[in-house]
């Protein structure tokens, strides 16, 4: 900073001299500063590019759901399911737990959405980061109309692979008919948002 300020204080009549002296041998005041300015601008531009790419990439998820489709888990009756049995539908995988109040808050909407949109090819799949018994009790009480798979504590790590960096619940992944991830959501996914995401996928 101090050096820059000193140069700025020099009389402007020195500037033409530096231009005529020409080559890189002389290190005139203005070009040094303009180089600093250009470098600063380039760095700023790169930071902006980085930020743009970062926010661009994190809102789009052009990733495949193959890893998720390859997972097998038991349902509340102990019957095993491989997630790719629903491949080809618009699959909404919801990571939840009975100990998670916001999860329970959004599930009645999911039951309604399954009823409304199941005929068009929407399939909810719940993965509970939980024990079988509380999940079974809750699924019965809720009249859950989609599978409640028991993922146990390890299921939270599975969700992390798909962008749940905070490893919190609820966490929801929307998969299109081709098996690509269309959307991932940490926190409650309101019905209006679900509808706007899935509308493009049917």
């Amino acid at each position: 900073m101090a050096a820059t300020d000193d140069r700025a204080a020099q009389p402007s009549s020195q500037a033409p001299a530096s231009v005529t002296s020409g080559t890189s041998a002389a290190v005139p005041s203005r070009p040094v500063r303009s180089r600093a300015v250009t470098t600063a601008l380039v760095i700023l531009a790169l930071l902006a590019l980085g930020a743009g790419l970062y926010f661009g990439l994190r809102s789009q998820h052009p990733r495949s759901a193959d890893v998720l489709f390859a997972v097998s888990m038991p349902d509340t009756n102990g019957q095993m399911h491989r997630l790719d049995e629903w491949r080809g539908k618009v699959v909404v995988v919801n990571f939840w737990a009975t100990w998670c109040a916001p999860c329970r808050e959004e599930m009645p909407q999911f039951v309604q959405a399954q009823q409304d949109l199941g005929g068009r090819g929407l399939q909810f799949v719940g993965i509970a980061v939980d024990q079988p018994r509380p999940v079974r009790d809750y699924a019965e009480k809720m009249n859950l109309n989609y599978p409640a798979l028991i993922g146990g504590a390890g299921a939270i790590d599975l969700s992390r692979t798909f962008g749940n960096t905070a490893m919190a619940l609820p966490f929801t992944i929307v998969i299109d008919r081709a098996g690509n991830i269309a959307h991932t959501q940490l926190g409650v996914l309101p019905r209006a948002k679900l509808d706007s995401i899935t509308a493009k996928l049917f």
């Binding site: 500063r33 470098t39 994190r58 798909f162 962008g163 619940l169 940490l186």
Partner: protein, 190 residues
């Protein structure tokens, strides 16, 4: 620091512009290097889901403990602003000793949830004294805490277990300093 030269430079730039092209190849190289660095950094960031920015479990609910007396440990949760712990999910145990009686938990605040019923929650600092069965002056002891909490933005964290090794003070000595729980190592891609 960065803004001053940029602003002054923008004001009186034009006359020296002929000088700039000579700098460009070097700048382009530097630019490419930066671009490569940015690309590598970006590639290593896991794609993040849409949603609020959140602290990891162990930082939202930071656990620490100290040796309070030859026969007592103080445990402490520091709950980050915007987060809360469930009182009935708190559990403590010690290794190589035993907790003499159910610890006296502070009152907390009542929370009613339409879908979850009534519960008691803690915010801020939660301090609990654990009375031990055996006096172990000057000896190390490990305390394990189980907890479960949520963030006000509408997410909850799985139950977590945090552990701290403390040394119990000798008889008549003051309590030791609080020791924070060590975050379990977690790989970047784990």
């Amino acid at each position: 620091m960065v803004w001053a030269p940029i602003c002054s430079g923008l004001q009186r730039r034009p006359p020296e512009h002929e000088q700039v092209p000579r700098q460009r190849p070097a700048l382009r190289t530097a630019g490419s290097a930066w671009l490569a660095v940015v690309a590598v950094v970006l590639a290593s960031i896991p794609a993040r889901a849409e949603g609020p920015d959140l602290l990891p479990n162990e930082r939202a609910f930071a656990f620490a403990a100290r040796g309070a007396a030859p026969q007592a440990i103080d445990v402490r949760f520091t709950v980050a602003r915007g987060y809360y712990l469930y009182r009935d999910k708190l559990k403590f145990s010690v290794e190589g000793n035993a907790i003499a009686a159910d610890p006296l938990l502070p009152p907390g605040e009542n929370k009613h949830d339409e879908f979850f019923g009534d519960s008691v929650t803690y915010r801020g600092t939660v301090l609990v004294r654990l009375a031990l069965r055996d006096a172990m002056p000057g000896r190390p002891i490990t305390v394990v805490a189980e907890s479960q909490g949520c963030a006000d933005v509408g997410v909850c964290y799985p139950p977590q277990r945090q552990r701290v090794a403390v040394t119990l003070p000798s008889s008549g000595a003051p309590p030791t300093a609080f020791v924070p729980a060590v975050t379990p190592a977690r790989g970047w891609f784990h």
